[in-house]
């Protein structure tokens, strides 16, 4: 059976399948359907400094092979999270990847500071938030803003805890933003966040979502996500990537690994199948075994390498010559007039 161990910036995980931020709450609900300590890690819903009510409803619209959401980062705030959610994950034996979000560089730094000494394996920085100090410019859409957040978080967190920046695909050059994050101290990159979309109700003649725009996720965005992982891995092969975007099956997860991700998050499909992370892990294990792959780490970014021609180890045994290719008899056609 394949060795599924993977490393993200020096931290070892028993396997590469994680939940995705915002699709698993803080693990407790999904633990009713599978053991959350059996997967690589639980990426918690982005937490902010204060409790947040989220946006009005409707917050969700189904789209072909996907969905649009505009939740507005509803959450209990960091105090309740530290008191209630993180201890539960620790006691359960799950590896916690804590996602943080803020409205200013200072918010992120404060959150990271609050997480010092907390029982967590990694921090994922959700930078797809508007910067209130820069006219609502989304951090992730601006290399400078993204770098400022990453640098502040990196300084506030113990060096043993990897900091991953979660990138938005809604940029003209994702490699430039990725590079800015890495230069600012990111130990790795999570990609991708949702794509911005709108659905209009053709009966009411108005947008479906109360928030008008929403984030598109699900299998519909998978090729975009694989492309982003591919481009960033090609530019910076040494930087570990947590890949996500529309993973539904073990083979989908394999695509991300082949494109250059060291681990993957299973997100929206969890709404469809609450045991999806455990199922994807089992399917991935089987897919690797079927392909004779012994170590997961051997295939990270494999698709970037040119195909290898298989050379038979020994000459064909005598008596096994191919059959002569039969030839057809010549055919004469009638004249058509």
């Amino acid at each position: 059976m394949a060795d599924l161990t993977t490393r993200l910036a020096g931290v070892e995980f028993p396997n590469p399948v994680f939940t995705a931020s915002g699709c698993a709450a803080a693990g407790q609900e999904l633990d009713q359907f599978f053991d959350v300590s059996s997967i690589g890690g639980v990426v918690t819903k982005s937490i902010m400094l204060e409790p947040r009510s989220g946006r009005p409803t409707p917050r969700m619209a189904e789209t072909p092979s996907g969905m649009l959401n505009s939740i507005g980062l509803q959450g209990p705030g960091i105090d309740a999270f530290l008191q209630r959610d993180l201890p539960w994950l620790e006691q359960r034996g799950a590896r916690a990847v804590v996602s943080i979000a803020g409205g200013s560089v200072d918010d992120y730094a404060k959150l990271a500071g609050r997480l010092r000494g907390a029982p967590l394996a990694m921090i994922e920085v959700n930078i797809s938030c508007p910067n209130v100090e820069d006219r609502g410019q989304v951090f992730a859409c601006d290399a400078g803003g993204a770098a400022a957040v990453v640098s502040a978080v990196r300084k506030a967190v113990a060096s043993s805890i990897p900091v991953f920046a979660k990138l938005s695909p809604d940029v003209t050059d994702i490699v430039a933003v990725a590079r800015a994050c890495v230069d600012a101290g990111a130990d790795g990159l999570s990609m991708i966040n949702t794509l911005l979309g709108i659905v209009i109700d053709t009966t009411s003649l108005r947008p479906v979502l109360a928030g008008v725009t929403g984030g598109l996720s699900g299998p519909a965005i998978r090729p975009v996500a694989v492309r982003c992982v591919w481009q960033v891995h090609a530019a910076m092969p040494e930087v570990p990537i947590l890949g996500m975007g529309g993973i539904r099956t073990g083979l989908d997860a394999l695509e991300f690994l082949l494109a250059g991700a060291s681990a993957v998050s299973v997100g929206t499909v969890t709404f469809h199948d609450p045991s999806a992370p455990a199922r994807v892990l089992a399917e991935l294990r089987q897919a690797l075994d079927e392909r004779g792959i012994e170590r997961l780490e051997d295939i990270i970014g494999l698709a970037h390498r040119p195909p290898v021609l298989t050379v038979p180890e020994e000459p064909d045994p005598p008596g096994d010559e191919p059959e002569p290719i039969p030839t057809a008899r010549p055919v004469a056609f009638e004249d058509v007039r």
């Binding site: 902010m48 009510s53 609450p274």
Partner: protein
């Protein structure tokens, strides 16, 4: 209680007026179900482009049959997902999660209970009526719908209840009008102690108001099961939220799939449905973005 995810085999599907009733062999769900709970069903088959589960309140259960525990739910064909569901036949299978949500709370002592249903929203009230009657409660029904073929469970209600009042918007069955037109009389006539309701939000709001005004404003408790749009049904997606007043008097946006679908009517912020009231916990933090 812990919900389970199982492959449910279709034991039967039939048309009931304007609706469909489907019975699934779903081991582990029937045995745990309490009135007011629901199942969440994946639609469209293994490669489906429809990712969101469809939630249906449980209409009936049979804990032990020759095939194992069964659950029955009722649905209307609204879109592609329910249309797919309506084309399933005996022995087809669907992925089903349940039982989910918070059930109706039952009175500790025998009480007079009025059960109000709008359209196929009446579906979960029959399990409830069974449970209430087993506790020695008096059960009266008020069932309403737009038209006669959209009334659900008329016969069943007549069989179970001390009385049944029917209303239709077009007068094609029972009294012309809304359930709210007859409910005050039913409460007075049956000396009702509690009202249970399930149906469209506007109906629930009217029921809630009538219950609060009963007995010259003394009021009686009402429990309502809401029908909010859900994506996951298990509490992780945060799309089915409503403004609800907690024990501490604070309004929070709570998930109707986990904290509901049944709520005490006086805890729902009827004035603010579809919005986030400014005094809700965490609403102030939304100003920034």
């Amino acid at each position: 209680m812990k919900p389970v995810q199982v492959r449910g085999e279709v034991l039967g599907i039939k048309q009931v007026g304007a609706y469909w009733a489907m019975t699934l062999v779903a081991p582990g769900i029937a045995e745990q179900t309490r009135p007011g709970q629901f199942v969440a069903i994946a639609v469209g088959g293994p490669e489906t482009p429809m990712l969101l589960r469809r939630a249906f309140s449980i209409h009936a259960v049979r804990e032990t049959g020759i095939y194992g525990g069964t659950v029955e739910f009722v649905f209307a064909v609204h879109g592609k997902g329910t249309e797919w569901l309506s084309r399933l036949r005996q022995h087809d299978s669907v992925d089903v999660v349940g039982p989910l949500g918070r059930p109706f709370a039952l009175p500790r002592e025998p009480a007079h209970c009025v059960l109000v249903g709008g359209g196929y929203g009446a579906a979960p009230l029959f399990l409830l009526a069974d449970a209430l009657r087993a506790r020695g409660c008096r059960v009266d029904f008020v069932l309403g719908a737009a038209t006669g073929d959209r009334l659900f469970g008329a016969l069943e209600a007549k069989r179970m209840a001390a009385s049944v009042a029917f209303t239709t918007d077009d007068g094609s069955f029972g009294q012309q009008g809304r359930v709210s037109d007859v409910l005050p009389d039913v409460i007075a006539r049956t000396r009702a102690d509690v009202v249970y309701a399930c149906g469209p939000m506007a109906m629930l709001e009217a029921v809630s108001r009538i219950a609060a005004e009963a007995y010259d404003g003394a009021g009686i408790p009402a429990q309502v099961a809401v029908e909010e749009a859900m994506a996951c049904g298990v509490g992780v997606c945060m799309t089915c939220v409503l403004p609800v007043i907690g024990d501490d008097g604070e309004t929070r946006m709570v998930r109707s799939c986990v904290e509901g679908p049944v709520f005490a009517a006086d805890r729902l912020r009827w004035d603010a449905l579809g919005t986030v009231p400014l005094d809700a916990v965490g609403a102030a933090a939304m100003g920034a973005h």
